[in-house]
Symmetry: C2
Subunit: 335 residues, 2 copies
């Protein structure tokens, strides 16, 4: 019997600008037998996230860069196929940093066992009950501290995180304005998710849209994009505004470091606060968030979408959807 | 008997770039008699502050712009020469927004009576016991929240605010590194004020200086300058760094809006916090600060300098000293 083969996407070159398929190389090798304490996980889903682009750049960041020749780092959900660790039974669904490959061999560090709840689709553990849910929940509530009656602006509002942030903002009593690309996304935000308004950055001036839809100014900005969009928002912030800096997707592909916002001085005169957010810091408090998010889901107050791409082989090109604004909701690859 | 004349500096034009003397016009007019409830204050000292430049630009700010033709706004210390308000006796020293003129007529709103403490020079009520002291104290302690053992970097460190900030940082047990222009200022910081190190931005790379003098990175940045200096600091911040955005003096004279810092993305990956500070918000808590500052002064833990320019007629050109890095300590005009 020949050994089972494992396909792996390895980083072949540091991307310059947009990710090209040649920046990754697919290799294939046979699985080897497990050592004591190890597990073999067969990946079922990969999570694609804007931060993946940070991981492949050489910049000093919150995690070390993926090395050239290494398997691409990625959060994945899989099933334990073989176990030499009595803590983990075969057949258990697990989540971890299993990488862009068919199978991962792991010693169980940093791995989490997923609840056996058939009503919850596995991909929800990337989204509402995963890092995206934690990002939206703690980023907005812990850093943004929205108060009822305040105006919340969310960029990349039709993305996995942004769409949740806006809905949580509505639950907390805010006026919620989303910024997204295209009429269809904007319609989804206002007609299905309950946003008060949506600004289509592809069809006009974001600043004009903000002035129109935020008549009382902006108190909280959940920022996923940066660049010109953040600059427009900084132009209309109120005193004591809070800017949750969660992502700067507009500049992850930049070849030269882009300048910071031209309205930077408004942070001073408006006594505003800009604060960076990395979800890893909040993992110990996950239960808090999931309790609220689960209740809101049951009460019909939260909806989410999954954007599913089929096949490990399509992972590199699927990642670019995030930077081209082509996804709606949580982007995953189904293996 | 002819009426007493009052010289007034009025804003003649919105400055473009550096302030020119022709942006102000000195007018002279006789004083008129007081109405019931009014005071006549003879100005003794004007406080010149970087924020004066903000007040004469047309940008939307934390105070309305000074109008063309209006007397230039300015904090001043004076003596009550005539009073038609029984609350204020003639001969009392007072501080208020009396403007760039020999005499101010005021109804007493926003005016504060200075303590009759001959040991304290009047100019200290602009500095240690005035808006500068409050700025340094609350900006550093309330926004920057320095902890013993952390590294604090202060820009414009030889200025009125910066020199106090660094000394308060030392009192709180921080490693304190100042950024200033010129060897003499740097020597003053390290040899007289007890800074651990000073970086002369005129004689080399600020980033290199920071790497050398902040071997454990930067935890708190008290920012008075912005531009390239802030950018260098953002390049070496630690996780959870706090940047107190108190001034952006490098860009107040800019003709076109300058870009924000190129290291803006580091705020995200380092989970840092950038927060704007305006001293007006802290006036109600002034007593708290002055109690500590007074004690530290008595204990010899704090020193300060006053940079005194003579003559109301020299106010406009003296203001430029702030932007040319030519002052050391608190800049005042003595009338």
């Amino acid at each position: 019997m020949s050994a089972q083969m494992n396909r792996q996407w390895r980083l072949a070159a540091r991307p310059v600008g947009n990710i090209k398929e040649s920046d990754f190389e697919m290799t294939e090798q046979p699985l080897v037998s497990l050592d004591e304490g190890q597990l073999l996980v067969r990946n079922l889903y990969l999570s694609l996230d804007p931060t993946n682009r940070i991981w492949v750049s050489e910049a000093d960041s919150y995690l070390p860069p993926v090395g050239i020749g290494e398997v691409m780092r990625g959060i994945a959900i899989g099933v334990v196929e073989q176990s030499r660790d009595p803590q983990f039974k075969e057949g258990t669904n697990v989540q971890g940093m299993f990488g862009w490959q068919d199978y991962a061999v792991t010693d169980g560090a940093g791995l989490s066992v997923l609840p056996d709840t058939p009503a919850v689709p596995l991909t929800a553990y990337f989204g509402l009950f995963g890092h995206v849910g934690l990002t939206a929940y703690f980023g907005l509530l812990d850093i943004g501290k929205p108060q009822a009656g305040e105006t919340l602006v969310v960029s990349a509002a039709a993305g996995a995180t942004g769409s949740l942030v806006g809905q949580i903002g509505k639950i907390k009593g805010c006026r919620v304005v989303g910024i997204a690309g295209g009429a269809e996304k904007c319609r989804w935000l206002t007609e299905e998710l309950g946003f008060d308004a949506a600004i289509d950055y592809k069809s006009g001036s974001v600043l004009d849209g903000l002035k129109q839809h935020c008549p009382a100014g902006v108190d909280v900005n959940f920022e996923n994009v940066g660049g010109e969009i953040l600059d427009a928002v900084l132009g209309v912030i109120n005193n004591r505004a809070r800017i949750v800096l969660c992502g700067l997707i507009s500049q992850y592909n930049a070849v030269k470091p882009p300048p910071g916002p031209y309205h930077f001085g408004n942070i001073l005169v408006r006594r505003a606060r800009v604060e960076g957010f990395i979800v890893l810091d909040y993992l110990p408090r996950a239960a808090e968030a999931f309790a609220d998010l689960g209740r809101w889901l049951t009460e019909g107050k939260i909806k989410y979408r999954v954007d599913e791409v089929a096949g490990l082989e399509n992972a590199p090109q699927a990642l670019n959807k995030l930077f081209e604004g082509k996804n709606v909701g949580k982007l995953v690859v189904k293996l």
